[in-house]
Amino acid sequence: MWENVSGYLNYWLAAVLLLIGLYGMLGQPNLVKKLMAMNILQVAAILFFIALAEKTGATAPIEVKGLHDVGAYVNPLPHALMLTAIVVGVSTTGVALALLIRIHRHFGTLEEPEILERMRL
């Protein structure tokens, strides 16, 4: 039973984080919250990729003298991809925060319903 579950636990973790992130982004009225949820969403994607890279019994993808077996190292490709993804995440967060500050400067609030209400006026 445990064997069955453990093999997919990481995927489920990623899925749960994704859902939390989605909920936060779509359901939370506060813009800062949305952005934090966005970061959680990105962690979910990263986690998913890292889980893909995993090999049972393998070590980190840095060469150890004398160990040349392919199965001995986890897959480095998803790691490289996720470094890029993290950078993308922080870039997006930065831009979003800039937008958010500008919105706050004008409306004095960060609650989406209030902003929409004032835009309608």
Binding site: L18, L26, L41, F49, A96, L99, I103, H106
Partner: protein, 491 residues
Amino acid sequence: MTAHLPVLIVVLPLAAAVAVPLVALAFPKAAFAVACLALAAAGVASCAALSHVLAHGTLRYELGGWAPPWGIEYVVDPLSGGMGALITLIAVCVVVYAGPRANGGSAARSGMFHSLFLLLVTGLLGIVLTGDMFNLYVFLEISSLAAYALLASGGIRGTVATFRYLIVGTIAATFYLLGTGYLYALTGTLNMADMAARLTAVVDARAYGVAVVLTVIGLAIKAALFPLHGWLPDAYTYAPAPVTGFIAAVMAKVSAYALFRVLYFVTPAEGASAQALMLLGWVSVIAVLAGSILAMAQQDIRRMLAYSSVGQMGYIVLGFALGTPAALIGALLHLFGHAVMKGCLFLVVGGIQWRTGIYKISDYAGMGRRMPLTMAAFVVAALAMIGLPPTLGFFSKWYLLSGAVEARAWLFVAALVLSSLLGIVYFFRVFEFAYLKTPEAGQGTPPRQELPLHMLAPILVLTAAVLVFGLLNQQVVGGIIRHALPGALAP
């Protein structure tokens, strides 16, 4: 040098984007020239690449000298080459239109504006040319971030709209990334061609279906396919004119292109992608009608055009969904044509707003006399949107219709015809105001306020393109688009 054209198309605007802020600090006057030159150079490069591809077949480029699937590959085939040429053509027009004092006047700001514009172009070109799923994601993010900045550089309403777009866009990008992750998990590769070859073995996996769903949803959000279009109208409405002109013209189109790439060049024809296409077909029928109906309800001309874009994206996806050669030709021709037409329309509307502050349709009274050339361009482009001969819009609609008739998809036929009729209604409403109504009595005839040359010229170029490419559509179709069809359907 020809061998290096694929990468030059993308890297030239990138290099210029890096240079422009520095140049703007040192020689404020030169920054605009650098931007123009770089885009022109990229345009020349993409046209050269396209003609080379048409003569000698697909051009592949191994970045870093690493053979795919280990390295990243650029693929210039007639489809991506054509898209590249289209993007650079419109980019050159728009950057000239924006002019050296774009966005608020100060040299540094204008330098940043142009730099971000170049980055946007870089991102879109990268998406178009890449043959690697993850590289596509990276360039999708470059273009998205640049687009967020440009869209928000207008007023506060634009900023709020952009924030919403950013949230939705990030969800879309994450979905795409996850879809890529699923595909990678199933095939172990990121290279599109390699992936296509390896996917046939796993078509039956549930994870494959999910991969397709995630990828398609991600790209459909970016392409603003109804009902995932929520971000689009506000974002298009409140952005500065050149930005909307460019983004409305090509950005959603590039996402649609990516959708086409994935569904026709990466995923196998049977299985989940076929079901996804069928679903997209039905969705796009609703999109075509809903977009047109919503467009009719708008008072703000920019919103009207934005909703019309939603409908027109439906046309394109409808063609993808039908999947017959004629329908695909129609969709791709419309991809091209709609970019030119909508770009032209938004540039006109933006120019009018810039000159007179008018953006309500009811305030357009007398505009035909105030800005005769600009409005003439609007009329031509609008007639093309409706799909009247001999404009480009007619011919793409022709192919879509004949594809739908061939496939005996009568509902699609009806949707296409109905949406043309709705298009007549909402565009002729503008014509009536512009040409038949006179402004408030007592104000006399307003003076002529034609746009300055650097704004007018790109508009007229795009207008001419609508007509010329319409009459020469067989050259475009026969020379490029036919060769751009996926293997089984190409001649």
